[in-house]
């Protein structure tokens, strides 16, 4: 565990030393803030004291921001050769992957935490369903974790950060949108399968404030598959 934390600490300080963290947090807050409060169908048009508008905006902004955070995680190490240095230290591939995953999750967590004032603002405006807010944040965290898993996997496939970014978006768009579209377009068993595969279904259900084990299992398995894929790509050098 402590080895994982050493990796996480290094990655976090790399984020904050290189301005990536600040740029990401400011962009995320700027975008989600302006679309939640100022432009489009903002929170005031809705006439209800809830954060649904914010979740809708975050749903999309996280989809784009997370690949930008994860793209360099492994691709850059592959390119500069530091991956060889890292792997030959007394640490397992698992610990490396989990350490990097946690670093990304903490960065996104910090960004999400900066939006907590939204909740207190809304509370001044009317009665807020606290359960729904909590569920909504939980959904955002699970959604981020899933995309981080996908992003890390994409990053482990290549040496090129841009390719890693685009690959993560390409894989992500299926869960983000396409499965939902297919699911609502078809009926019966196939329709059900595809809407279960869509992240939207589970985010919606969680942000209603209902914590269902099916949603949790969905997210956990998505995260696990992402991390497992990353680990397999790292251990590929061991294939005979």
């Amino acid at each position: 565990m402590s080895k994982v934390w050493i990796i996480t600490k290094r990655e976090l300080s790399a984020f904050f030393d290189s301005l990536i963290a600040y740029v990401m947090i400011i962009l995320f807050l700027g975008l989600s803030g302006s679309f939640t409060w100022l432009f489009g169908t903002n929170i005031f048009m809705l006439g209800q004291a809830n954060l649904d508008v914010f979740y809708d905006v975050a749903y999309w902004s996280l989809f784009f921001f997370i690949p930008a955070i994860t793209m360099r995680m492994i691709a850059e190490e592959n390119k500069s050769g530091t991956i060889e240095l890292l792997i030959t230290k007394a640490i397992s591939d698992n610990q490396i992957v989990i350490g990097k995953f946690l670093a990304c999750l903490i960065l996104v967590g910090i960004a999400l935490m900066c939006t907590i004032p939204y909740y207190f603002t809304i509370r001044q405006l009317g009665n807020v369903d606290d359960g729904a807010v909590l569920g909504g944040y939980l959904a955002m965290i699970f959604l981020s974790a899933s995309y981080i898993g996908i992003g890390l996997f994409a990053s482990s496939l290549t040496q090129n950060q841009i390719v890693a970014f685009l690959l993560a978006l390409f894989i992500g768009i299926f869960f983000h949108m396409l499965f939902d579209v297919i699911g609502s377009g078809s009926t019966g068993f196939i329709g059900e399968v595809f809407s279960y595969l869509s992240i939207r279904t589970h985010v919606d259900s969680l942000s209603r404030g209902v914590i269902d084990s099916r949603d949790i299992i969905y997210f956990l398995s998505l995260i696990l598959i992402g991390l497992l894929g990353t680990q397999i790509m790292l251990s590929k050098r061991n294939w005979k």
Partner: protein, 307 residues
Amino acid sequence: MAIVVENLTKKYGVQKAVNDISFEINTGEVVGFLGPNGAGKSTTMKMITCFMAPTIGDVTVEGASILSEPEEVKRKIGYLPENNPLYLDMPIVDYLRFSAEIQGVEKSEIPARIGEMIEKCGLNAEKHKNIQELSKGYRQRVGLAQAMIHDPEVLILDEPTTGLDPNQIVEIRKLIKELGKEKTVILSSHILSEVEATCDRILIINKGRIVADGTAETLRRQAQGQELLTVHIEASKGDIQKELLGLKTVETVSAIEGKEHWFTVQSRPDASSRKEVFDLCVSKQWYLLEMTGIETRLEDVFRNLTN
């Protein structure tokens, strides 16, 4: 036995980069891997350091196998990869701390270890800089420092002096010799003088196989076989070449082209003709102006074995 390599083979597709290599290295030995580019030196090192698994074979480092206990092996080894990859955005001290933590150095000992490494590798003047601000020589020192930070029993250095200027090369070699007193060191190089200057033992690798194994001295002797002398004799009368050929210990005599009265004398196996040549000159009243033994250079040994 610090390192035991058994039947190590690595295939890239159908090509065998390393082909059935076996050798043993004793604790405290400084061993040089010598070979032309693409001979399999780096691949062998990558397998010993657990970066990649061998297709066939096993390596044990201080009793731990790379297949069953990779983390144990990795803790015992300090590794400087080829091209010395480093996290360029990190300050030297932070990077050394990261390496120490990850290699499991006790937290209370870390500052002292970092101080010692900075001292040993001559990084004192630069220690507050980011790695990307350093010149290549200093980066190489950081690479060495991170490899040694956890005081490993075995040091594996892949081409440790590439890209350094002559002064730095001398310093790094001195450092390696220093380290070799207490640690087992494997280094690879394609520079012969370097291996000769730093290593107790040389393994010449070619096309994935070990073609020679021994000290610089034994390798030379093996390759040399028969004694070769260059002699310069001034004589007023008599056929020097014929007389030399008449000596019991001499096998062949050839005149050196373009130089009058210079000859190359090859002795019969396990015989020396130095005294006989001298006695001959005395009895014939010739002047022996020069007699030099030709030592086979390691370059020639290397070229013979790898060509």
